[in-house]
Amino acid sequence: MSDHANHDHDPETPEAHASRRAILQAAIGAGVGATLLSTLYIGAGLIPKKEVTPETEPLAKGDILVYGDGPKKGQPVNPANLGLGEQQTVAYPMNPKTRVVKDKEANNTVLLLKLDPASLDAETAKSAAEGVVAYSAVCKHLGCIVSNWDKAAQILVCPCHQGRYDPKQSAKVVGGPPPKPVPQLPIKIEGGQILAAAGFLAKPGKEV
């Protein structure tokens, strides 16, 4: 019985051994490879897709700027309430039709300042209105909100790594690590409200 079996296909001959091993190795390799590939496909699901909701839509022309925090949060900013040369006000755009505040998208955060119109350089003045200037509030360095104000020097300061921007010169970087100025937002003033006259002049948000 065993004699008969061993005659033609002796499983223990070196050649049979080698080919059996090669087949097993190929099978294991294919199995591991397929498993890894399918794992990668599952792993891709860990990166969430960005969903655009009314609250995360990007800032658009005509949006009304509203207070981002404080007691008047959500109410339109009245330019008359901005103090000349005082600390910036953080604001979000509001869709004028639906009245939805687009505050779930960090890159929509805007900072507002009232400065002496004569002190602005020509480039900055073009996008300003009655001395009110608006910039993206998201620091170009690591994305913190630029919320500090060096009143003596009239310079915007990011609290995270002391990035400094000059609001009178298109937010030129005058100190610290930011690679670029925060983009300016052209504005107009209508009926005691501040409106976006266009989108940001450059892409807002940190450099990635």
Partner: protein, 425 residues
């Protein structure tokens, strides 16, 4: 009872093999143990915290009428429980102590040459443990979701994003999308912080200790004189166990007092997430990286095939990564043929010791850069800080090398000539 168990599990064999194992006693040998105690306390207080914490950023109405994120509100609830704030504070302080003790333990191993053959693998595992503890501490930082913690964590998110090519994917997977903003960020950090990293830590700590038991602890210097060639120490059971028990109780007493007297991370004072960025400082073990980020100019960047190599990448990934690689290679560079049984005296290895001291000065100077721009510290300018970071460590290394050479050279020849002549590292 003992006999009943012994008949079934052969405890006597365990007793003979492991519990009578001799452990050497030296005050510098307790640092790793303290890190272990901190970990035990972190797990225990962490279990208490998970029972009451809600890993969600959904906004809900608080009893006082404020609309707050669920995570923030649940921490306020924990603080209102009997000893809740103290236990949370103890968790916070123990995280600091674990990182500090692990770092000092590493310094002890480094300065006494205990990383050498045959302990290379355990040195690597130890480095991994230090890295794991720091990452674990970082992932727990944002969980209270107060304004301070979120801002501090945002910097880490930026550093993760700065890795060329894969940064965005890495940051998205770890933080569940954009941070802050995504609703998935807290569930994801929570799972990483309370489940996966602790499991990994438990397994790695177990391996670290098993290898240490198998290879035997290095012997203190006095053992060489008292009983050359023999393993000295006290038995694990009961002497060593009693010492550990006492030290653990002392640890508990001190951390409980510190946690109660100095409540860590007062989230009510920091307030819930808002658009105003508070003036933040990261924890002390991140300050040196934070300092480097402040002084690396934005012009240090270039692109290769769409991958961006920017300042955050240099300061936040490359510099710490390089230090890690150098540390990992150390036992394979500093080799010798005979097994290391006794610890080496730092004074007899002036080069290694002086470079270590120089490295510590580098950490201190980079930490100082973390204070750049603070009120009253206007004199800390970028050029000054660069000079300090480059010059002070170099000078410190050179001076300590020359000092050690001249002070200890005669002694070192006399002593290390006996059983284990090592190269003059």
């Amino acid at each position: 009872m003992y006999q009943w168990l012994d008949e079934r599990f052969d405890i006597s064999r365990l007793q003979r093999k492991f519990l009578r194992k001799a452990f050497p006693v030296h005050h510098s040998f307790f640092l790793g143990e303290i890190a272990l105690f901190a970990f035990v306390v972190l797990v225990l207080t962490g279990i208490f915290l998970t029972f009451n914490y809600e890993p969600s950023t959904r906004v809900i109405r608080a009893p006082d009428g404020r609309d707050l994120q669920a995570a923030y509100l649940s921490i306020l609830f924990i603080d209102s429980l009997p000893f809740g704030a103290v236990l949370r504070s103890m968790h916070h302080w123990s995280a600091h102590i674990m990182v500090a003790a692990a770092f000092l333990h590493l310094l002890r191993i480094l300065l006494s040459g205990a990383y050498k053959k045959p302990r290379e693998l355990n040195w690597l595992i130890g480095l991994g443990l230090l890295g794991l503890s720091i990452v674990t501490a970082f992932t727990g930082y944002a969980l209270p979701y107060d304004n301070y913690a979120v801002t501090a964590t945002r910097i880490g998110y930026g550093i993760a994003q700065s890795i060329p090519w894969i940064g965005s994917a890495v940051a998205s997977i770890m933080f569940g999308g954009e941070f802050p903003g995504s609703d998935r960020v807290i569930p994801r950090l929570y799972s990483i912080h309370v489940l996966w990293l602790p499991l990994l830590l438990i397994a790695t700590i177990g391996l670290h200790l098993l290898i240490m038991i198998k290879q035997k602890h290095t012997q203190p210097r006095y053992a060489e004189k008292v009983a050359p060639g023999k393993v000295m120490g006290v038995p694990a059971m009961p002497q060593q166990a009693v010492m550990m028990g006492v030290l653990f109780l002392v640890y508990l007493a001190i951390t409980a007092f510190v946690a109660g007297a100095f409540l860590a991370h007062p989230i009510e004072a920091f307030g819930p997430l808002s658009v105003k960025t508070p003036d933040v400082k990261p924890d002390w073990y991140f300050l040196w990286i934070y300092g480097l980020l402040k002084i690396i100019p934005s012009s240090w960047q270039f692109e290769i095939f769409g991958g961006k190599f920017g300042p955050e990448f240099w300061g936040g990934v490359v510099v710490p990564g390089m230090l890690g690689v150098v540390a990992a290679l150390l036992p394979f560079v500093d080799t010798r043929k005979n097994k290391l049984r006794y610890v080496e005296l730092p004074s007899q290895h002036p080069l290694r010791t002086s470079i270590t001291v120089g490295l510590l000065m580098f950490f201190i100077m980079a930490t100082l850069a973390g204070y750049k721009g603070d009120p009253g510290l206007d004199w800390l300018t970028t050029p000054l800080l660069w000079t300090l970071i480059l010059v002070v460590p170099t000078v410190t290394t050179a001076v300590s090398y020359v000092l050690m050479k001249s002070l200890y050279s005669e002694r070192s020849e006399g002593e290390s000539a006996a059983p284990s002549p090592g190269p003059g590292y």
